[in-house]
Symmetry: D2
Subunit: 149 residues, 4 copies
Amino acid sequence: MAYQKREIQIYEHHVKYYETDQMAIVHHSNYIRWMEEARMDFMEQMGFSYKQMEEVGIISPVLAVACEYRNMVHFQDTVQIRTTVAAYNGIKLKIGYEMYNKETGELTTIGTSSHCFLVDGKPVSLKRSYPDIDEIFLAYLEPHRLETK
Amino acid sequence: MAYQKREIQIYEHHVKYYETDQMAIVHHSNYIRWMEEARMDFMEQMGFSYKQMEEVGIISPVLAVACEYRNMVHFQDTVQIRTTVAAYNGIKLKIGYEMYNKETGELTTIGTSSHCFLVDGKPVSLKRSYPDIDEIFLAYLEPHRLETK
Amino acid sequence: MAYQKREIQIYEHHVKYYETDQMAIVHHSNYIRWMEEARMDFMEQMGFSYKQMEEVGIISPVLAVACEYRNMVHFQDTVQIRTTVAAYNGIKLKIGYEMYNKETGELTTIGTSSHCFLVDGKPVSLKRSYPDIDEIFLAYLEPHRLETK
Amino acid sequence: MAYQKREIQIYEHHVKYYETDQMAIVHHSNYIRWMEEARMDFMEQMGFSYKQMEEVGIISPVLAVACEYRNMVHFQDTVQIRTTVAAYNGIKLKIGYEMYNKETGELTTIGTSSHCFLVDGKPVSLKRSYPDIDEIFLAYLEPHRLETK
């Protein structure tokens, strides 16, 4: 039976005091953590959560991250994170993130994270070995969405 | 053969930018992390490192922490942490920490952390089951050192 | 006009992957951060937010924290944090926290944080100088609630 | 008087327990923090520390970061970080980082961070306005060193 693409609710992160630094803005390392939060929420909404993935025996390490900081984020701002499948070929997955200030609508940050899939420590093609999961990631592919430099 | 108590070098932590918050001081949660750093360095210097403990099959979870903030610490300060065995009865261990500003000598922070010992998930008495390890902790006991309220 | 005590909604924290450590549980330093989250949410619900406090010119540094870990918390658990005014005399404030596993109802953690109030860097009595704010904290005082050792 | 390029000592970071996650490796967000540590150490060794920069009235926000994870890093590993000026044109600065496992010599991680310079919140050309500082960054330029994808 074919996978039915779902409507994804935008992920929200409410900025904590401990995420600020002495410039009185959010420390830039935290956005990498928010990308992880948003990615795991995205997978859960897709119907294939990180926990389910681990139960199947698949591990998906982070190969690379990139992040561009366009506008500053402050304590108690709410950030809305739009998550997409920016690239996917069955073997490698690139997730894209756009972060917006909820109140102003301003684009604050864009980022990507790249992942592969391992079973018993060895790279695996979801396309070949897990076609059901492959289908899910394909359903959310939006290749031309992000324009990181 | 009896354990020979060693001279313990004071542990130093150089404060990082990402440890500050928007009050332009170190965020108070980081001191709990420095206590862990200092504790693991202390155990390594004692000759019974955290890694050795895990290899023996002992896990030592944190049961409680307490921390009093007396003077503020800032970016690029170096904090010297004096670690002691504040209480120990073979079953429970309380480690004490005194943090000093290296430049001024000022006492900035005092803390404690309490631990038990588990083997296969069950509490164990080091005194009974691991007398060699028990002897090590006893050698550093300084019960009246810290006066936390 | 007298302050009307409000119904406080329990604060919820959804555990993030990056909050775990290699014991596969939440690292114990994160609970200190959650206490801060819960405290700021509590103040906002009381009608006297941290931001309002800063605008009035009052700073409320953390003097001490204490935390007891009773049951472990894992990735993707939701923790419910019940926040109370554990002690308050106009000059010093002690906030109490009880954390529960939302799914099981189990008490996982209890903690406290102690604070004073500074205006222009000097200690101030809310009772004398800010009776309106004093009244708010008094309204939530539950002195016998927590039994930390 | 012309700036004399100095010999830069490689920066070392000793991995902490609280930097691990439940995969029993270092959480990927921490490398972004280590890049900051290494960058600030590098600037201090160059003879133009972050503190001096702030005293001159220059702020240097992070515009972007990128990081590739090639080999995993574990608790108690020591990471050696080689920092270089990967690109610099007087207005924008790109710092490059190569991280090596001290024990094995293995390349574990490569990264970059991009920065501009602000005075009173406005972009400034170091080349034009601060030729002495400009000269320092130029002295460490190694443009073809890093090959991030």
